[in-house]
Amino acid sequence: MIVQVLDIGLVALLLTLAGWTILARFTFPAVVSYVAYGLLLSLIWVRLFAVDVALTEAAIGGGFTGVLLIAAASRLRTTTPTEQGPAAPLRWAVAVLSALATLALAIVVLLLPDPSPTLAPQAIDNIAITGLGNPVTAVLIAYRAFDTMLEKCVLVLAVVGVWSVASDRYWGGAPSAPRAVAQSGALTLFAQLLPPLGILIGIRIFWVGADEPGGAFQGGAILAAMWMIVMMASLGDAPAISKRWIRIAVVAGPIVFIGVGVLGFATAGGFLAYPAGIAKTVIIFVEIFMTLSIAAALPMLVAGPPIQAPRL
């Protein structure tokens, strides 16, 4: 009984926050609503028993998206206001269209078979081969390894894309993280206390990912956040994008992943196949590099294109 109250309350709150995000008059309240919305989403994912997803949403929705959008909202507010939105009739037409889309999706939700077709038994039956204990990690890194590899390539492409937005004269220089103008005592202390604990937690979440909720992405995202808080407190500068180490760090994950995948032809008879017996060792090896690349790529995505001339 009380569980239904909780679920309905969560959903009502989620919809309210989404509504504010879309309908608020000004951009800043919309962004803050969206940050709270991301936090609430990870609660909903816990209620759906998808703890791995909840962890990802907590790191991305609660942390990185918030920093990215708040910094962007405040940088864009100095520009002149934009043109008007569409006129009332068009607005209504769009509302009707959106309502129809919602209706169609809702009908699909109600018509789909319950329980739905599932791959859970197959995931469990074959998990012994991978040596893993967490079926979600097994899907990500073994059964559907191709998706995960492409996802890591997307991250690299996004970093390249963000960097290439730079003005010509700044190419090769350093981005400015959304950092403090001056150091402040409280923030400095915070950025000194948080990383030791955060790095421990990040490595733990990466490590237990083989058997429990967690994994390379969630652990890497937390490590990335620790690097970012150091930059946000102006205790460390963002690296110039021409630095070799940052470029290697960003591409290491996908390169190692592809390399191991190609080796799979020789050792296990197929692309991205892992040799039997030592599959878990190979998986952990790949995941270490993926974690490193994620920890390097996410702060670079938030920091944006370089805005300082390279030091020659």
């Binding site: 402040s184 005592g185 409280a186 923030l187 915070f190 206390l193 948080l194 604990l197 937690i201």
Partner: protein, 97 residues
Amino acid sequence: MTLVLNLFSIGAICAGLVFFVAGTVGLLRFPDPLSRLHALTKADNIGLGLVVLGLLPFANGVLGGLKLMVVWVLVQLSGATVGQLIAQSMRRNGPNA
């Protein structure tokens, strides 16, 4: 023994709830941003601390209990830092920037 522990938990969690109520009331009713800041940075830290205290008896072993404590320490640290930063920022730039 279980009954005593349950009563302890219920007591601690209920006390925590009171502080969350206080935080919200303060945030809504206090007249200016600085006093609102004062209300909420106190309330949410103690509220969460009491909830964690109440949940400790049900914790999943020593590691589970340790994690609960870490959560509280982290929120405590975040709350204290954010309180300082927002207050400094309001003094320097006004509440609206």
